[in-house]
Amino acid sequence: MKRARSRQPGKGGLDLIDEAAHLLRGASAATLATYYLGAIPFVLGFLYFWTDMSRSPFANQHLAEAALAITALFIWMKFCQASFARRIRAQLAAEPVPRWSFRQTVRVLLTQAVIQPSGLFLIPLSLVLTLPFAWVYAFYQSVTAMADADSSESSKLVKRAWKQTALWTWQNHIGLSIGLVFGVCVFLNWAMVAFSVPSLLKMLFGVESTFSKSPAAMLNTTFLATIFGLTYLCVDPILKTVYALRCFYGESLQSGEDLKALQPLSPPQLPVHNPARRFRRWS
């Protein structure tokens, strides 16, 4: 019976992205703030690290400490993303956001710290090998999307995430392909904005800079890292929402949570016939 249900065709990749975009647009400011509370410090910290390591002649002297600081920011970002996914799942289930106690918060943080760092090596490696990329990427996204107080043990979370990764493979590939193409478009958009800003400043306000004199001066690794960071901040919340949706629908095959979310919270308010009210209106 369970096998039959798991063979049910899932939503199309495009439909899933469409639903994710709508869900993200309807998300509260607190939900988005939860995501960016982790992502912005990491991106800024990483850009500082990148610039420092590529420019400073004394970078090697404090490389270990800087790498440790970036590691702390990375784990903090993963925790915030797990919290963001929990809010998205609550929004999907039409339930209030479950509150984590201090102990549960520490457990989720530790679980993310145990699982996510391996993705730093495995995701680029799978990208080089190409074929396993979609599964590896989906697995780490599912680990973020399914982090909750119930999965405080890493082994349980790994099992649950792997189960969702294996589900609806075609949907995963299509969704990821669209996400990558979208990411490239956003990257090009940011690059064009960055290229045009110095010339616009010169044209409108007369501000002369190195970049307005020679746009080729922008072609350095820090510029590329900055554009990549901005692209990540724009695209990643959508991808996180897509995988939160995938996990929600995947788990609903057994829990029926999606059907519960469809039911109205309270019976519809029917218009009440009140003759006295009509009488007052005409008198």
């Binding site: 690290f49 990148w50 390591m53 590529s54 420019r55 970078a59 090697n60 490389l63 270990a64 800087a66 790498a67 440790l68 970036i70 590691t71 990375f74 784990i75 530790l110 710290a113 145990v114 699982i115 996510q116 760092p117 391996s118 730093l120 090596f121 890493s154 080729a216 001066a217 072609l219 350095n220 690794t221 820090t222």
Partner: protein, 108 residues
């Protein structure tokens, strides 16, 4: 051999017994028992079973989790260390984008 039909609930003397707890061997009415891992248990035994494994594994589970977390942090630290090391070793001409302006023949 006790006959279930003749027994009374351990907690409610006025009620007839519906099941016997396999742990404490006492009889209970249908409100005092529950199913846990395909066995019908009383509330007191269920509470004992739920707490016992946790306390036994608590110390080792905490240590194992701490060790796993330390390994995870070490992996992430090593990744960022490698990135920093690679960036600092690359020549300035690469970072400034000047590397591409020099003809390939001059590099060799």
């Amino acid at each position: 051999m006790h006959n279930l039909a003749q027994q009374r609930c351990f907690n409610h003397a006025a009620r007839e017994a519906a099941a016997r707890c396999p742990e404490c061997k006492r009889f209970f009415c249908r409100e005092c028992i529950t199913e846990h891992e395909d066995r019908v248990l009383c509330a007191a035994c269920l509470k004992t079973l739920a707490i016992a494994p946790f306390t036994k594994q608590h110390v080792f589970a905490g240590l194992a989790r701490f060790a796993q977390c330390a390994v995870g942090i070490l992996i992430a630290w090593f990744f960022f260390f490698l990135i920093g090391e690679s960036l600092s070793r690359l020549p300035d001409s690469f970072h400034e984008g000047a590397l591409w302006k020099v003809p390939w023949t001059e590099h060799q």
